[in-house]
Amino acid sequence: MSLFSSKNMKLLRDPLGDSNPITVQVLGICSALAVTAKLEPAVVMAISVMAVMAFSNVLISMLRNTVPNRIRIIVQLVIIAALVILVDQVLKAFVYDVSKQLSVFVGLIITNCIIMGRLEAFALGNKPWPSFLDGIGNAAGYGIILIIVAFFRELLGSGTVWGMEVFGHKSADVAESTGLYSVGYVDNGLMILPPMALITVGIIIWVQRSRSKNLIESN
């Protein structure tokens, strides 16, 4: 079987759409709420999760025939934890500021249900290469939602995109503000608060479900 057969590509593509881990399976919501107030930490988080997920999937897939069934969960945890610590160290070394913003949530990747879910559901029963693609695909599905949510939260909550002022400069004195702020626009404080992340995810689910025919439930 070729490396990029249509079956393998499906592993990459599906999690972006009809089996998205966040909007369809509704997993990994906690970190989606916590790190999406700004775009930069969300992107870093998405990349971190992708690294952890792809490599833990590969490792578990390679060990799948040797790990005794009864202790598989603890083995998975050890592997995920080791990878998360690696990622955490890399973040601290290269993007210290973002790492500080993400605080405990990098460590909490260990408890991200998507990762455990994919290990249990996929890597334990498949070869390393498809497992790798599955990890990348699901992490991308997770990451893309994180980035969409973070984009809107940062844009409407802080008036910036990746730290750049989109709506003009705001200052305490209206006379010194520029752009939209000079005509009375005010950032929406609710967007910064976690509940709005939940509502944004909800709206994405709503849009996705009304567009995708496969997801419309009959009742």
């Binding site: 009375g184 626009y185 005010v186 929406n188 404080g189 609710l190 967007m191 909800g202």
Partner: protein, 410 residues
């Protein structure tokens, strides 16, 4: 009227199935039934007929809101002229307020109804009147100084997230008007803090010592002051202690008198200041059987008893405020009469209504007095109990079933 009827009949075929404007059928029907009593009759089965339908219900609530709204308009003008140290005639005062409040009402209705119409079209539903009341409530529970675009955003949020995602009128979990206010409160805290809620003061010369703060905002500041006082006492800084004590005393003394708060000529959100006007509305609601007397009374009872309880504990000056005073200031009366009684989001069972109302009163006063970050507890208390209302009903119904089973066995 006849001409109007003829005109409607003339254009009606366009909106029937197969007509060129069929896709706007629900809009047409909405307007037609708004203007005339529907002439539809059912063909099968027997139906209980009643003079009251949703449209009438909504119109009665809007009528009950009129005293509070008209008074609110006058009060907007009165506060404005008082702040500038002027005395104006009644019509002029009212006119000033009318011009300030009307845009808020228009924005709320246009945005809200626009979204409702759009959803009705997309879903192929009939347009219903659910927004008539919400659209009136939203302008009455915001300060007059709020920018119009914020009202528009909040209304859109409330109608879409508070109502339409759950399936529209009658399916919502929380009160849409309060959802709009909660949205404003958390999204634009500066505009909703209650510090200056009097319109048209920018660049004007104000009366000496004029603050413009609402009673709730003033009272809330004492919570923080009291905390500093405790610290100062521990440190033993006697100057600071005495200055803080006199500050707290002055703030509490500076609160409007119970009579002023009852009559309503104090700063506040547009419709909520006058307890008297709200009670007039309450009479209409109770008399027509639309608002639940049970809920109103239990909200007041809950707030009053919690006030008494706080009086008994009284570790800070805010707690020592007379229990009945809590019922007069802020949105307490407005919430109790118009918000808590919302038939969709309130408890449905008789006993459930009492528990629901009582807890609203209790929680509202707790939030007010104990949490300095939230000056007005009524909004949060009602939203919280909205969420719990089905649970209360569930246990009331289950309790009833158990009791009857027991009786049947005995």
């Amino acid at each position: 009227m006849k001409a109007l009827r003829r005109y409607l009949d003339k254009i009606k075929p366009n909106f029937e199935k197969g007509g060129k404007l069929y896709k706007f059928k629900s809009v047409f029907e909405g307007f037609e039934t708004f203007l005339f009593v529907p002439n539809k009759t059912t063909f099968t089965g027997s139906h209980v007929r009643d003079a009251i339908d949703m449209k009438r219900t909504m119109i009665i609530v809007v009528m009950a809101l009129m005293p509070a709204m008209l008074f609110g308009m006058w009060n907007v003008g009165y506060q404005h002229y008082t702040a500038l140290g002027l005395e104006e005639t009644l019509p002029l005062t009212f006119w000033y307020g009318f011009l300030k409040v009307l845009p808020l009402i228009l924005v709320s209705y246009i945005v809200g109804l626009g979204i409702e119409f759009a959803f009705a079209q997309i879903r192929g539903h009939e347009i219903n009147e659910g927004f008539l009341v919400s659209g009136m409530l939203i302008p009455l529970i915001v300060p007059v100084t709020i920018p119009l675009w914020m009202v528009a955003v909040a209304t859109a949020f409330a109608v879409i997230i508070g109502k339409e995602v759950f399936g529209g009128t009658g399916m919502n979990i929380v009160n849409p008007a309060l959802t709009a206010r909660a949205f404003l409160f958390f999204a634009y805290p500066k505009q909703m803090s209650g510090e200056i809620w009097v319109s048209g003061l920018e660049g004007e010369k104000l009366v000496d010592g004029y603050s413009g703060a609402t009673a709730m905002a003033q009272a809330t500041t004492t919570i923080d002051m009291n905390k500093s006082l405790e610290v100062a006492k521990q440190v033993g800084d006697s100057d600071l202690v005495s200055s803080l004590q006199s500050q707290i005393g002055a703030t509490i003394d500076g609160l409007p008198s119970a009579y002023d708060a009852f009559m309503g000529w104090i700063p506040g959100s547009i419709g909520e200041t006058s307890t008297l006007a709200i009670l007039l509305g309450a009479i209409v609601l109770i008399f027509t059987g639309i608002g639940s007397l049970r809920i109103m009374l239990s909200v007041f009872a809950g707030g009053f008893l919690m006030g008494l309880l706080l009086n008994a504990v009284a570790v800070n000056p805010y707690m020592e405020i007379d229990a009945y005073y809590h019922l007069l200031i802020g949105g307490f009366a407005f919430g109790a009469v118009f918000m808590a009684t919302d038939p969709v989001t309130a408890s449905q069972t008789a006993r459930g209504k009492i528990i629901y109302g009582f807890l609203i009163g209790v929680i509202a006063v707790i939030i007010r007095v104990l949490n300095p970050a939230y000056p007005e507890g009524m909004m949060l208390a009602i939203l919280l109990m909205n969420v719990f209302a089905p649970l209360i009903d569930h246990y009331v119904v289950q309790g009833n079933i158990k009791r009857r089973l027991k009786r049947a066995k005995a």
